[in-house]
Amino acid sequence: MVITRKAEFSASHVCRIDSLSDAENHELFGEEAHPNGHGHNYTLEVSVEGELDPVTGMVMNLKELKDILEEEIVEPMDHRFLNREVPPFDKVVPTTANLAKEIWRRLENRLVGSGKALVRVRVHETPELYVDVTP
C-alpha cells in the first residue's frame, strides 16, 4: 500500500552554466537562465510503500514522514537561493530534474532500515511542470 504526503517550499534558483555563452544558456534553459535568479513555489509529493500495520492502520506514521520532509527538505530549502545556500547546487545546476533527484537521495537515506520503500518523488516547479523520480 502506498501513501503520499505533500510539502511545499518556496525558493529561488538560476539554471545556467558559466562556461556557456548567454545565447547558449538561453537556448538550454530559456528564462530560467537569467543570472540573478528567480523563484518558484515548489510542491513536493512523496510516496512511500509499506505493509499496512494491522494495529495502527497506518503504512507509515504521517507525523514521522512530515518531520523527515521538514528536516531534510523544507527547513534547508524554504526561502533560500538554492545555488548559493543548498549544496550540491553550488556545483550542480538546480533544474527540476536535479532537484528531484537530490530530494530522492535525501529521503531514501532517511528510510533505510525502516521497512518502507520510497516509490515516487514528484516535484512540481510550477503547476505546468513536474518531474518524477522512481526506482
Binding site: E27, F29, V93, A100, K101, E128, D132
Partner: protein
C-alpha cells in the same frame, strides 16, 4: 528513473458521431456529445518525457524544444478549431478523447527526432483531459 511532465491547454470543439452508425445508435453511444452542431472543451494536454538528466545541464530535455514541438504539432492545429472539420486526421475518425490522445501521441512521435534530437529523452506518456472529470493516457 526520471521523467518530466509538461502541462498545456487548448480549447476546441468537436462532435462525436460515426457515419457508420444509425442516428439512434449514435445517440445511444455518444449522448449529448452527438448533438449536431458540436460543442467545446478546454482540453489539457500532459506530455511526459523520460530520460536521465544530462550530467552537465541537469536537463532531461530543454523545455523550449518540447514547447516548440507541442506548439507546432498540437496547439496551433487544434487550438480554437472544430476538430472534426479543421484537423485532417479526424475527417473519418471520431474525436473521442481516446482518439485525440492517440493522434496527439502519433503527431509528437513522428517529429520527435527533428525537435528533440537523438539523445536519450524519449516520449513516455501522453495524457489528455477533456474535462476535469475525464482523461485518457497512452504510454508510448
Amino acid at each position: 528513473m526520471t521523467s518530466i511532465t509538461r502541462r498545456y491547454s487548448f480549447s476546441a470543439s468537436h462532435r462525436l458521431h460515426s457515419a457508420e452508425l444509425s442516428s439512434a445508435e449514435n445517440t445511444r453511444l455518444f449522448g449529448k456529445c452527438n448533438n449536431p452542431f458540436g460543442h467545446g472543451h478546454d482540453y489539457v494536454l500532459e506530455v511526459t518525457v523520460a530520460g536521465d538528466p544530462d550530467v552537465v545541464s541537469g536537463l532531461i530535455v530543454p523545455i523550449s524544444w518540447l514547447d516548440e514541438l507541442v506548439a507546432d504539432k498540437i496547439l496551433r492545429p487544434f487550438r480554437n478549431r472544430y476538430i472534426n472539420l479543421d484537423v485532417a486526421q479526424f475527417a473519418n475518425l471520431v474525436p473521442t478523447t481516446e482518439n485525440v490522445t492517440q493522434v496527439a501521441a502519433d503527431l509528437l512521435g513522428r517529429d520527435w527526432r527533428e525537435y528533440i534530437g537523438e539523445g536519450m529523452a524519449r516520449l513516455e506518456k501522453v495524457r489528455i483531459e477533456e474535462t476535469g472529470r475525464n482523461s485518457c493516457e497512452i504510454y508510448v
